[in-house]
């Protein structure tokens, strides 16, 4: 009897070792102001496979309501109660920044989806645990400056969100513009909830710069855009990669035609040459996504890129430790840091101890809105 019992216990132990599970936690902004970004991210996580690196995966997705405090609470819960091996999120820069301390203390790798470079730069003992798969705003600002300079533009106006996203872009754009010899004098702010941006637009138009950069995310960025067109602005309008969803195209309508934006290549992967490694990955993801959830968004793409880098890192980490242990989380962190030449839907990742983002110029392309659709744009 005792022997049978022992055998049973042994069998269970073996079975549980074989059934070692990877736990992926996510805190995303599914409600509140950033919901239009967070929802496609969650949809994308629904597309993640049931097995990564040959072991079963459990997913725990929490909503942080676009709220910094809630993001921190969720992160603590995921680390202490659910004991996850990796945390995805959060959606926005302010939330992602607030999570840094918590994941560092809990020694749990974090793949952030927020936009600002400040989430992982500069590299320090805290950001050691944080990785980021979306393009740095600096990378995108450079793209805008280079593109504008090539078109002979020397003055640029700025109208941006009255929050961390807008401020981050303003700092980066001022730097990029100065390098490219573009003057940025008129700087205006607006907020997502503004019913009217007439005042700001009139001031921009009084200064009459050759180009105007609108920094917003999703459909609110259409408000100043439509106002500029309605007031007869003749210069060039730039948007940012924050507008990379079909809802923006729907709301901005024909007023959007002829404007430019830098974004991840996935936005119009069909137009990439076949030799581009991103094309195949993007096609695979977007086909799955569009079949189930409707039009693609760049935000969902970031969530898919988190899967792509994890998919490479998990098998590496499994060589040293079992999921659910501190050793595994450290091994996973190290493996993520050693991500080399991994093609995602937004670019090719090459991470290092000093660069926890790893995207280069292949991670951005200039797009033009043409007949209400995204089209790859030329060099100027």
């Amino acid at each position: 009897m005792v022997r049978i019992l022992c055998a049973a216990i042994a069998a269970t132990l073996v079975a549980s070792a074989a059934n070692a599970q990877l736990k992926v936690g996510a805190t995303l902004s599914l409600t509140g102001p950033a919901a239009s970004l967070g929802i496609p991210e969650k949809n994308t996580i629904d597309l993640w496979p049931k097995k990564i690196g040959g072991i079963d995966v459990t997913y725990i997705v929490l909503d942080d309501a676009s709220d910094t405090t809630k993001a921190v609470t969720n992160t603590k819960k995921l680390i202490t109660e659910d004991k996850v091996d990796v945390i995805i999120g959060s959606t926005t820069t302010p939330n992602a920044m607030a999570m840094i301390d918590v994941v560092a203390e809990g020694e749990t790798p974090n793949i952030s989806l927020g936009g600002s470079a400040r989430i992982v730069d500069p590299a320090n003992p805290k950001t050691r645990w944080v990785f980021k798969v979306s393009q740095h705003d600096s990378l995108m600002a450079d793209a805008v400056a280079v593109h504008a300079k090539a078109a002979g533009i020397t003055t640029m106006g700025f109208i941006g969100y009255n929050d961390a996203y807008g401020e981050g872009w303003l700092v980066e754009m001022k730097r990029s513009a100065a390098t490219a010899g573009i003057k940025m004098d008129t700087i205006e702010r607006f907020s997502r909830t503004d019913a009217s941006t007439t005042g700001q637009v009139l001031k921009l138009m009084a200064a009459n710069p050759q180009a105007i950069l609108i920094v917003g995310s999703g459909t609110p960025a259409a408000t100043p855009h439509k106002e500029l067109v309605a007031r007869g602005y003749k210069g060039r309008i730039y948007q940012t990669h924050g507008v990379g969803n079909s809802d923006f195209l729907r709301v901005v309508g024909k007023d959007g035609n002829g404007s430019f934006l830098p974004a991840g290549p996935m936005l119009a992967y069909e137009q990439l040459p076949d030799s581009n490694p991103i094309k195949k990955v993007a096609k695979d993801y977007i086909t799955q996504y569009e079949a189930k959830f409707g039009p693609r968004t760049t935000f969902g793409g970031h969530a898919w890129d988190s899967y792509i880098v994890l998919n490479k890192a998990v098998p590496e980490a499994l060589k040293t430790a079992k999921p659910g242990t501190k050793e595994f989380r450290l091994a996973l962190r190290n493996a993520l840091e050693n991500t080399k030449d991994v093609a995602g839907v937004h670019g090719v990742f090459n991470m290092s101890a000093l660069d926890h983002n790893g995207l280069d110029n292949r991670g951005r392309a200039m797009f033009m809105i043409k007949d209400g659709k995204w089209a790859l744009a030329g060099a100027k």
């Binding site: 409600t31 009255n162 503004d194 007439t198 005042g199 700001q200 809802d247 709301v251």
Partner: protein, 342 residues
């Protein structure tokens, strides 16, 4: 700043101010009759725009499900409340749940028939207005005699529930509706858009209609009587529940009309209503939540301040608008004598 910029800003400020003005009037109306600070007022505006936008995109508006959900909850509430009196139960259901069911059917029919713009607008207004009695029945009627603070907390709860339902039924992204008129008129050196003229005309028309309603109709007089003295009104046979329900329904109708006006001007999200309503509230506060003309003036002033501050200091626009409330509160606390709530 030259004259043309000032004129454009004034036009923009007046247009938004007119919409805030409608909301301020609705807030004053609901507060006077029920003592409820009606925070969910803005939600009606947002739901109107999103419903009409769904029609325009040839999608079945989420409003149908929202109405059915409301109706089902109300039915349940009536069954629990009148389980011993089937006759009263049916009458109560007809008053609170039936409008939602009919409105849901109308919205569905208009969608199925691919009806024209005018019918879409009508169905949208009916749908949003019919939420009024249901919301009053569910949230406010059971606590109608509670202190103002309790009613305020209930309002906050209703606001959050409606915002959450808005996200569920309409999604996170915003929408715009097509303009009623694309024409512009030249007035001296500046262009006035037909849409903003429409906003002014509508607002003036509605204010006049409300004034006539309160002065000459029996329902209007009943509302005024309830506002003046709740117990007295009850003694002469005015049901406070009926008056409350009617005032919230009127507020919903005003919200729906404001939504029609604001939809073509700006992008509206499931949660945009709150901020629009809040600006109306600032206007209503100027009138002490009691005076219609002062509230209307206050709301238009808010619109103008907003337009000019977005030109001079766009980063501080909201701060400037909401700081307006401080001197008003100070002035009111010095000039009015405080008396205890009856």
């Amino acid at each position: 700043m030259d004259f043309s910029i000032a004129a454009l800003l004034t036009q923009d400020g007046l247009t938004n101010g007119a919409i805030y003005c409608l909301l301020a009037l609705a807030l004053v109306l609901v507060f006077a009759v029920t003592r409820v600070i009606f925070i969910p007022q803005g939600e009606f505006v947002a739901f109107t725009v999103l419903t009409l936008a769904s029609f325009e995109q040839n999608k079945l508006p989420g409003t149908v499900w929202l109405l059915i959900a409301l109706a089902a909850t109300v039915l349940l509430a009536e069954i629990v409340a009148y389980r011993k009196e089937p006759g009263r139960m049916l009458r109560a259901m007809a008053a609170s749940a039936l409008p939602c069911v009919i409105a849901a059917a109308i919205v569905w029919a208009v969608f199925a028939m691919q009806a024209g713009f005018a019918l879409q607008v009508a169905a949208t207004v009916i749908a949003v207005t019919s939420m009024g009695p249901a919301i009053y029945r569910l949230a406010y009627q059971p606590v109608a005699t509670a202190p103002v603070l309790t009613l305020l907390i209930v309002s906050v709860a209703v606001h959050f529930v409606l915002t959450g339902l808005g996200l569920l039924f309409f999604g996170a992204e915003g929408a715009r509706t097509s303009a009623f008129t694309g024409s512009t008129f030249a007035l001296g050196s500046m262009n006035v858009s037909g849409q903003s003229l429409l906003v002014y005309a509508f607002t003036v028309g509605l204010v006049v209609a409300m004034a006539l309603f309160f002065k000459y109709t029996l329902f209007g007089k009943a509302l005024r009587a309830t506002a003046a003295n709740r117990t007295g009104a009850r003694l002469v046979g005015i049901s406070p529940n009926f008056a409350g329900s009617l005032s919230v329904t009127l507020a919903a109708a005003i919200g729906a009309l404001s939504g029609l006006l604001i939809g073509p001007i700006t992008t509206v999200y499931y949660d945009s209503g709150f901020l629009i309503g809040l600006k109306g509230f600032v206007g209503a506060i100027v009138g002490g939540l009691a005076s219609y003309p002062i509230a209307a003036g206050g709301a238009i002033f808010v619109g103008l301040v907003e337009a000019f501050s977005s030109f001079w200091a766009s980063a501080y626009k909201e701060v400037i608008v909401f700081t307006l409330i401080l001197p008003v509160l100070l002035w009111r606390s010095f000039t009015t004598t405080h008396h205890e709530e009856e």
